[in-house]
């Protein structure tokens, strides 16, 4: 356990005032800001969560980026370009939010490339047809919205504010994805078959996006006490199912779960159990595309090294010239 960065004064009560102030701020549902004192555990958890979130946006560009060059109409191509561009933008917001906690973007990128930090399990699944692009919009962005809307009230200010901007764009993407599927369902039988196949392949991985079940999610309780997270994994998963079932009916597709049915008593849908072993394998690096996604990110980073070096060298030369000019 690394203790060098922890804040013993706050933790051992030598500066209980700071801790009390922090606790009171959280209790009043007010925001913690970058200059405020915060427990080291809170800082670390946030850096981990925000970085993971940023990495997900960046890796998430890949499965959809696969289809930019094959988009079947110019309108869909424009939509995909805009979406991938938004994702890069979300990555930037989130890295900035992480940097307010003292993290460094270059270092976080290294951690991602070395596999020391994770990204969302969902992006380790392949996009095999154009319907996957629509299903990613509908399920994956839909699940992201369920996760992220409550984060707009997260206790850490910069994170919460980033989420407000991101959620607006995500819900736009979700509608566009659903609209693509609607168009395809009204199209040819081959198009409808593509949609059904994509729904079947993405449903369970989408449910796994919310993380392990509550009784196997050790960090959740602390994150909820700190109001970093506002709802448990299972609550959010339930919310996603309840939101998605009527949309599937309207679209005319069947979700691949024989146990899925409305439960009048609970006022929610009952549904089957995701394959948690599969989730664990994917998180540990053994999903269908883990190696490919990481390799692609690593290659882009390594092949871009000379470009970044050139930009730094040029900036240094410009600064030196400016200084020389100022002295003269």
């Amino acid at each position: 356990m690394d203790t060098t960065h922890s804040s013993p004064r706050g933790a051992d009560g030598a500066e209980p005032v700071l801790q009390q102030h922090f606790d009171a701020t959280i209790a009043r549902d007010q925001r913690i800001e970058p200059r405020d004192w915060m427990p080291e555990g809170y800082r670390k958890t946030l850096v981990r969560q925000i970085a993971q979130h940023a990495h997900s946006e960046i890796i998430g560009m890949q499965p959809e980026g696969e289809w930019i060059t094959r988009a079947p109409s110019l309108r869909r191509k424009a939509i995909l370009f805009a979406k991938v561009q938004d994702e890069a933008g979300h990555g930037l917001y989130l890295y900035s939010a992480a940097e307010t906690l003292g993290a460094d973007r270059a270092d976080l990128t290294e951690r991602l490339i070395e596999g020391r930090q994770k990204y969302s399990s969902i992006f380790n699944y392949p996009t095999l047809s154009f319907a996957d692009v629509g299903v990613i919009g509908w399920f994956v962005d839909g699940a992201a919205i369920c996760n992220q809307v409550p984060l707009c009230r997260s206790s850490y200010g910069p994170y919460a504010r980033a989420m407000v901007r991101i959620c607006k764009e995500e819900s736009f993407h979700q509608r566009q994805g659903y609209e693509l599927l609607m168009t395809m369902m009204r199209g040819t039988e081959a198009q409808r078959e593509m949609v059904r196949d994509a729904v079947n392949r993405w449903w369970w991985p989408s449910l796994m996006m919310f993380g392990p079940p509550d009784d196997a999610s050790p960090n959740s309780a602390q994150s909820m006490a700190w109001k970093i997270k506002r709802h448990s994994n299972d609550e959010l998963r339930q919310r996603f199912v309840d939101m998605t079932v009527p949309q599937a009916e309207k679209l005319g597709v069947t979700l691949p779960d024989p146990e899925l049915r409305w439960n009048e008593e609970r006022g929610h849908h009952d549904f089957g159990t995701p394959d948690w072993d599969e989730l664990m394998r994917v998180i540990k690096g053994d999903g269908p595309c883990n190696a490919q996604r990481m390799e692609r990110r690593r290659t882009a980073h390594e092949e871009g090294a000379w470009v970044r070096a050139a930009a730094s060298a040029h900036a240094a030369k410009q600064a030196a010239r400016a200084e020389k000019g100022a002295v003269a």
Partner: protein, 222 residues
């Protein structure tokens, strides 16, 4: 449209996150311009997805493969400087392209700025980046003459455009500590070849990828 497609191949491969954004942004502008132009002639998707290689009239310059980042930037530099001048001239006239050109010239000013800034960074950066940038401007030079072959129906002062382009490019390359290439600016066998539907080899493969899904489902709506 063709250049926009080439830029799309960069998605997820750019050297920094900011460039993922910039390249997608430029591609999106170019695609928007292409859609307006194609719609002026007919159905945009029919024109994009159902024409064969020989029926495409794009410049050979824009179909050139991305290569390394310097190659992509050199292609952007040459093309955006040309587009900026051409749209500027069209926007000031009252021809059918004036409204499109008026909007596009603003977007293109940003594209040109982006390409020029990177030309300076790479040219006046490290030894390696200068060597790569020089190789790129040299390699693409032979496709630049084509941009100034008169196009039927466009009332443009082509020699004037070419002179202004050469001046601008020369100035940027010199500021970037690069040498202005001296070789011929058109291929020996076909000046203006792209405009006549004569393309380079990689273009067919690019179209195969671009058109595959659309062609596999004739008549489908997306």
């Amino acid at each position: 449209m063709v250049l926009s497609h080439r830029l799309g191949e960069w998605a997820g491969h750019a050297p920094v996150l900011e460039e993922e954004l910039a390249l997608a942004n430029i591609a999106l502008d170019l695609l928007g311009q292409a859609r307006v132009l194609l719609s002026m002639v007919g159905d945009e998707d029919e024109l994009a997805y159902l024409r064969e290689e020989r029926a495409f009239r794009n410049l050979q310059l824009v179909e050139q493969p991305n290569g390394d980042f310097a190659h992509t930037i050199a292609r952007q530099l040459y093309f955006s400087a040309h587009q900026y001048l051409l749209y500027g001239e069209l926007a000031s006239g009252d021809g059918p392209f004036a409204p499109l050109a008026g909007k596009a010239v603003k977007e293109t000013a940003y594209h040109r700025d982006h390409a020029e800034q990177w030309t300076l960074r790479l040219g006046d950066g490290t030894d390696e980046s200068r060597a790569r940038m020089q190789r790129a401007v040299d390699a693409l030079w032979r496709h630049t003459g084509e941009m100034f072959q008169p196009v039927e129906g466009l009332d443009v002062d082509w020699p004037g455009l070419e002179a202004a382009w050469l001046e601008r490019i020369g100035e940027v390359l010199r500021r970037a500590t690069l040498t202005v290439p001296e070789g011929p600016r058109t291929g020996a066998w076909a000046a203006g070849a792209g405009r006549q539907g004569l393309h380079t080899e990689s273009f067919g493969r690019m179209l195969a990828e671009m058109q595959h899904l659309h062609r596999s489902h004739p008549g489908a709506t997306w």
